[in-house]
């Protein structure tokens, strides 16, 4: 152990970490494959998440083609369609968004931003990635099993999830549940690292209130995930028992094809409670890192300190706490006691307060800022707009009286794609454009980036604005085709074709983004160590990309908060966190 001094305010971190404490890769395999360096693990997480995300993107095209041109694609059966929507939803929410924000950005940014050499448990961190990869492979395997993947909808509600009418009842649902269990085990290993690294491995001078909001967002989201994922774990294990062992935790007495099954007495509602006790915090597991990252992007690219830093931190913590007491707003139509509905509507609407504080603070940060419309900034701005749009429809759906008629319509689909589909994805894109220069040493091409941004941003609105209208008409979600329904006018069909065209175009714009990432790896403009002239520690590393151990011989020392932009009297318009104050002569 290294000597540490315990001062009045707690431990003061040592300036030097002894060499033996760091893990040193000895061969190609331990450097790039079974690597314990958080930066490599982050890249592994990101590549895996983006790859499986591409699968989900293709699935969304197939969904949209079917919706726009029903009965034109003989290759897509109703069962296939259900499998597509299920896998699209599950992959996007869990295997892409959660893994990329926490496993990808968390691993890369936490040690660099708090001035640590690595995560505190590097070996556990490495295992976390490999278990995640295993979870992804199990999930992918379900596509190739007899009967295909499960088609029960991403919520996996019993009893239908394990009855024989649902596609993938034989193997798909089993592999889905096993994959989720593996994911949770892998995530828990990673999550322990993120939390303890933030708690214990901050460099000298890095108090909690000097941390960039990105770290606050990822840290709080990880705490939420560590407490919420166990609920999904329990639900998955019990559902697996119902499916394989014939227990009746969730399965009521059911008649299937005129035959009484052995199940009896189980409670499908119990599963819904467990699922949404995880499912709602999950929204914030994705949103809080996005909140944090977007705060840093806006502050850096508007050359202005974040407005109301303290309030931003408190809002993150309050949103995190409240997210545990709103889960039943996903269950208004499950026949709950009206007083329950009232309680959950109240808590749901209360969340709007800290969230609105954050939005006001972002806007006030922009106010009279020196706004540079770089690609990361464009994506950050589009996040604010999209999050507000999606959030406003959330106020509608949070009220039981409005929710009941809108429940299970395309309105809900449009709402959650805006608020937790497009909005966080915009942040991911912005963050990739922002930190790619640090990860690779080269800038992404700006022209291609702007093309990618405008097509994605305008396309997202072309897709989801009309979808709200289709939902208001009463068109239900998850239907293979509507047929001739009196309440669906011709205009809805036309709109569906329009939405599909927009979705295909947006999808292809992502290919431009992928091309940009690969092309810029060798052909991009060299970035230098701090291309955005940012204050936070990750831009102050001695090497770019940061070398093994991040900081060379000595850890950085932090003298100020993360947002000293455009300080009056300073030589430049940013003062890095590790620059000491000049003593008055």
């Amino acid at each position: 152990m290294v000597d540490t001094t315990i001062g009045a305010a707690g431990v003061i971190q040592p300036a030097e970490v002894k060499d033996v404490e760091l893990y040193h890769p000895k061969s190609w395999v331990t450097k790039y494959v079974f690597c314990q360096d958080a930066k490599v693990i982050a890249i592994q997480y990101s590549i895996t998440a983006l790859s499986i995300g591409l699968v989900a993107l293709v699935l969304s095209w197939l969904i949209r083609l079917q919706l726009a041109f029903p009965s034109s694609f003989s290759a897509i059966s109703p069962g296939d369609y259900l499998q597509f929507i299920t896998m699209h939803g599950m992959i996007m929410v869990i295997y892409l968004l959660t893994a990329l924000f926490l496993g990808g950005f968390g691993n890369y940014l936490i040690p660099l931003m708090v001035g640590a050499r690595d995560m505190v448990f590097p070996y556990v961190n490495m295992v976390s990635y490999w278990v995640y990869l295993l979870a992804v492979l199990v999930l992918v395997a379900s596509f190739f099993m007899p009967g295909g993947p499960t088609g029960s909808g991403w919520t996996l509600y019993p009893p239908q999830a394990i009855l024989s009418g649902t596609p993938g009842r034989d193997w798909g649902i089993i592999l889905m549940l096993v994959s989720l269990i593996l994911f949770i085990i892998g995530f828990t290993m990673g999550g322990l690292n993120y939390v303890v690294t933030v708690l214990q491995a901050r460099t000298r001078g890095m108090t909690l209130m000097r941390m960039p909001l990105t770290v606050w967002g990822i840290f709080t989201a990880t705490v939420l995930a560590l407490l919420a994922f166990p609920a999904l774990f329990v639900g998955c294990v019990m559902l697996l028992f119902d499916r394989i062992l014939g227990t009746s935790f969730f399965m009521p007495a059911v008649v299937e094809m005129g035959e009484h099954l052995k199940y009896r007495g189980g409670s499908p509602l119990l599963f819904q409670h467990l699922f949404w006790f995880f499912g709602h915090p999950e929204v914030y597991i994705v949103a809080l890192p996005a909140f944090g990252i977007v705060s840093d992007l806006i502050s850096t690219h508007a050359r202005k300190n974040i407005f109301g830093y303290r309030m931003m931190v408190w809002a993150i913590v309050v949103i995190g706490a409240l997210s545990f007491v709103v889960w039943a707003h996903h269950m208004y139509v499950s026949g709950m006691n009206p007083y329950f509905g009232f309680f959950f509507a109240a808590t749901t609407l209360i969340i709007a307060i800290p969230t609105a504080i954050k939005v006001y603070n972002w806007v006030l940060t922009l106010w009279r800022g020196d706004i540079h419309l770089t690609v990361p900034m464009l994506f950050a701005l589009s996040f604010i707009v999209t999050f507000v749009n999606g959030g406003l429809t959330g106020l509608f759906l949070g009220n039981p009286v409005v929710d009941v008629p809108l429940s299970d319509t395309m309105f809900v689909v449009a709402h959650f794609h805006m608020v937790m589909g497009m909005a966080p994805i915009f942040v991911i894109f912005g963050a990739i454009y922002h930190w790619y220069p640090k990860v690779t040493g080269r800038m992404l091409n700006e022209m291609l980036g702007k093309f990618h941004f405008w097509v994605t941003f305008l396309g997202a609105y072309a897709i989801y604005f009309p979808m709200h209208y289709i939902g208001l008409l009463g068109v239900p979600r998850r239907y293979f085709e509507m047929g001739d329904m009196a309440f669906v006018p011709q205009s809805a069909t036309t709109l569906n074709i329009f939405i599909t065209m927009a979705a295909l175009i947006v999808g292809f714009a992502q290919m431009v983004f992928l091309f940009n990432m690969i092309w810029s790896l060798s052909k991009g403009k060299p970035a230098g160590s701090n291309p955005w002239r940012a204050t936070t520690l990750e831009w102050q590393t001695p090497e770019t990309p940061p070398g093994h151990g991040n900081w060379g011989k000595e850890l950085p020392v932090v003298y100020r908060w993360a947002y000293d932009y455009s300080v009056p009297g300073a030589k430049e318009d940013f003062v890095p966190q590790n620059q000491p104050a000049v003593r008055a002569a």
Partner: protein, 128 residues
């Protein structure tokens, strides 16, 4: 469900709230620029990281078990609940678990006092 949440999440929430209250969350970081040689404590605990990690892990495990148990209890309340047959080895197994925990604890105490021979005995006794 709501009762469990009260019992499990309330202590965890209390710990989190207590910890947050120790963290100078009302600090005004924009006014606090440090000079050279001025290193404020980070508020990190003096406990080793592994201990903190174990604590966090125990919180995760407790919420996992609490959710398992509460889901099980909720299922028990439904009318058709049938008692699980207790396997004959149940109490025997429980006894073995308790004894091996005692042996493990003995080995740990011995290790702390540097009595390596006793550590060996303890570990061997705890291994079945």
């Amino acid at each position: 469900m709501s009762i469990t949440i009260l019992f499990v999440l309330a202590p965890i929430g209390a710990i989190v709230a207590w910890w947050l209250s120790q963290q100078r969350l009302t600090a005004k970081p924009w006014l606090e620029v440090g000079a050279i040689d001025d290193f404020p404590g980070t508020g990190a605990s003096s406990l080793p990281a592994a201990t903190i990690g174990l604590g966090v892990f125990l919180a995760v495990v407790s919420s996992l078990f609490a959710l398992f148990i509460s889901a099980y209890f909720m299922r028990m309340q439904v009318a058709d609940w049938a008692q699980m047959p207790a396997p004959e080895v149940l109490w025997f197994n429980t006894g073995v678990l308790i004894l091996s925990s005692v042996a493990l604890q003995y080995a740990q105490v011995a290790a702390r006092r540097g009595r390596m021979e006793d550590v060996g005995y303890g570990l061997i006794a705890s291994s079945p």
